[in-house]
């Protein structure tokens, strides 16, 4: 997938333990228990935002805001140079005898250009970072993770007691547990 970030992919990894939840309260509690036991949760996939989950599994603050700021600044500079070239250098037009340089009439263009670049830039970089650009292959752990189920993915390590982790998930409300190796899932 070229430019896409491979670290987010679930393929080419150690075995992944998958737990399926149907209730968000139980999920939050289970995530707390798992984190408390020192188990490193790779990610949790939910069909809608579950408040508080991000803090529990230690999601870092998104850098999207900084990206937005940079995109906005870029848009602003782009628009100022565009108007300057078009309206001052290349083809000045006399509109009601107003001056051509840096007048209030520039502001709507600058504003809209900033907003446009921010919105498109954020959209692009968001999809890029989440490897959701065009041509992405379906990589769902569960078809219903976009509908009503919440999926916990835990990457196994050599020191991990796998059966204990699975037991822990089951006793904390997982309705199903599976293991995932390179795209193949088996219920355990």
């Amino acid at each position: 997938m070229g430019i896409l970030d491979k670290n987010l992919s679930l393929r080419n990894r150690n075995k992944i333990l998958v737990g399926v939840w149907e209730d968000e309260d139980a999920l939050i509690h289970a995530a707390e228990v798992l984190v408390h036991k020192g188990i490193n949760i790779h990610d949790i996939y939910t069909p809608y935002p579950v408040h508080g989950l991000d803090r529990i599994i230690g999601v870092k603050r998104s850098r999207l805001a900084r990206v937005a700021f940079l995109c906005g600044t870029t848009g602003l500079i782009l628009m100022i140079s565009m108007i300057y070239y078009m309206y001052v250098v290349d083809w000045p037009i006399n509109v009601g005898n107003k001056p051509v340089r840096f007048t209030p009439s520039w502001i709507p263009v600058m504003f809209e250009g900033t907003v446009l670049c921010t919105a498109f830039g954020m959209g692009f970089f968001f999809f890029w970072r989440n490897r959701l650009l065009h041509g992405v292959k379906n990589d769902l752990l569960d078809d219903r993770q976009t509908d009503d189920r919440m999926i916990v993915a835990i990457e196994t390590t050599e020191s991990m007691n796998q059966s204990e982790v699975i037991e822990m998930m089951k006793s904390n409300g997982a309705v199903e547990t599976r293991e995932y190796v390179n795209g193949v899932q088996t219920v355990i």
Binding site: E24, D25, I28, H29, E32, P49, H51, G52, D54, R55, I56, V59, K60, R61, S62, A65, F69, G96, N97, K98, P104, S105, I107, P108
Partner: protein
């Protein structure tokens, strides 16, 4: 969501801390003293400033007059006026085109000494204060209604604060009406003009003011706002009563919530149609020849953002005193976002009122900005810096919105800045040139802030601080904006 640590929800009853009471009283006393000094130092020789007399050449030679003085002297003024220096931009045009008919370009401003009773300054200041706090309290009610209409959950934990704030409407409106009653002849030159009862063709007859007399007349100036404020206050009282009934009802009963929602929706409709009318009557009519179709929205933006700043200040204060235990940094962050968003909204409206008038350059619209931009340049641009650039720069960062000290500082700047904004809408229109903020302005502002703070804190003591039976209370308690 009962995750993690369970948060216990319990009612809180507020008593004003001694220091809070002291603070409000000190503000009022210092405000009164400054007002006294301010009044004592007004130049009472009869000339309290210069006045901008505007005439539009397109109206014909004799058909002008704005009612500041007797028609006879108007005619004289007009003759001078034809030879007076045209404003700078007209000069430019003349130089560039040589043969341009200067009469087509804009109203020519003629500033001259004008006799205004020195008391006018007091009435105009009271008008600003009364108007500002009426609108701020009204926008608190608007805030409250928006939360219901939008089915918002996060704000339930702080909903008693705007609920207490809008009880200030009658007080502020009373002051506003007193100021208008006592100062109307000198604040509004159209009131003066109305008393002249001029017929078309008479010297001093003003076709613009005559054309607007269907709306700009003394009967409407008093009648309409009283009706509107009565409607607002009645809906506000109803909402407050429903909120109290909900506290005493059983948990899980959504009857009062649904009823509040309907009244809120009704209020939003009333508010949307009426807030502009109040802005036109009290503030825009100061420059009665001028009009701006966005003026009501602009006034709304100013008062709405100050109202949010006041809500943030009260919530921060209550939290610092150990109340509102259910309110967390997350709620403050959302209030910060509200302040930030509507700061941008204010700037948007501020700019576009100016931009369209600047672009079209229609004489009857230009006059408002001509005096403000050419003779009050620093005030005009300073207004923008204080009300937009500073809050925008400081509130852009997430960490700033979550820092109570920065929030309080910015909220204070915004409240003062927007009060100044209203002042700046009124004073150049009433007094013309050379008006600046002085001790009188500062004193009246402090007096009103003190009164407002004391009133709101007192209202907060009258019921529990937590809307204990609100169906969304739990959602608000566990509100989280994420990492």
């Amino acid at each position: 969501m009962g995750h993690g640590h369970h948060i216990e929800i319990k009612q809180e009853s507020f008593t004003i801390p001694a220091k809070g009471k002291q603070f409000a009283i000190i503000l009022m006393v210092v405000g009164l003293i400054l007002t006294g000094i301010g009044i004592a130092t007004i130049d009472k020789s009869g000339k309290s400033g210069h006045n901008a007399t505007t005439t539009e050449a397109t109206h014909g030679k004799d058909n002008h007059g704005n009612g500041h003085e007797a028609p006879a002297s108007h005619a004289e003024g007009h003759d001078n006026h034809l030879t007076a220096n045209p404003p700078a931009h007209t000069v430019e045009h003349v130089e560039e085109h040589g043969n341009v008919d200067t009469e087509k370009f804009g109203p020519r401003m003629e500033y001259k000494e004008e006799n205004k009773p020195w008391m006018t300054k007091i009435w105009a200041n009271l008008l600003v204060a009364g108007y500002f706090f009426t609108m701020v309290s009204l926008c608190a009610l608007f805030w409250y209604a928006v939360q219901y209409a939008a089915n918002a959950g996060w704000s339930v934990a702080i909903k008693r604060v705007p609920e207490a704030m809008y009880t200030f409407i009658p007080i502020a409106f009373g002051v506003l009406m007193i100021a208008v009653l006592l100062g109307k002849n000198d604040i509004y030159h159209w009131v003066h003009y109305e008393h002249l009862h001029l017929k078309p063709g008479q010297p001093g007859y003003d076709p613009i003011l005559a054309g607007k007399s269907g709306f700009l007349n003394t009967g409407l100036l008093f009648g309409l706002p009283i009706v509107l404020v009565t409607v607002w206050v009645l809906i506000g009282r109803k909402l407050r009563k429903l909120s109290l009934q909900e506290d005493n009802a059983t948990k899980g009963d959504t009857f009062f919530f649904k009823k509040s929602m309907r009244f809120s929706a009704a209020f939003l409709v009333v508010f949307g149609f009426t807030i502009s009318i109040v802005a036109w009557l009290f503030i825009m009519s100061v420059d009665a020849h001028w009009y701006s179709t966005i003026f009501g929205v602009y006034n709304f933006a100013t008062s709405w953002v100050s109202s949010i700043a006041f809500i943030a200040l009260f919530v921060t204060y209550l939290r610092s005193q150990g109340y509102l235990g259910l309110v967390t940094q997350e709620h403050m962050h959302d209030l910060g976002k509200f302040m930030f968003a509507f700061t941008v909204f204010w700037a948007y409206i501020w700019l576009f009122q100016y931009l369209l008038i600047w672009y079209a350059a229609i004489p009857e619209e230009m006059m408002y900005y001509q005096i403000r931009f050419e003779d009050y340049k620093y005030n005009f641009l300073g207004n923008f810096v204080v009300n937009f650039v500073l809050p925008f720069a400081f509130l852009l960062m997430r960490s700033a919105k979550r820092n109570p000290k920065i929030m309080v500082a910015i909220a204070c700047i915004m409240v003062m800045g927007h009060y100044y904004d209203v002042w700046f809408m009124v004073f150049p229109g009433v007094f013309g040139l050379n008006q600046q903020i002085g001790l009188l302005e500062l004193g009246i502002f402090m007096l009103f802030v003190g009164l407002f703070v004391y009133w709101v804190l007192n209202q907060l003591t009258k019921r529990g601080l937590v809307a204990i039976n609100h169906p969304f209370l739990e959602e608000s308690v566990y509100h989280d904006v994420g990492v």
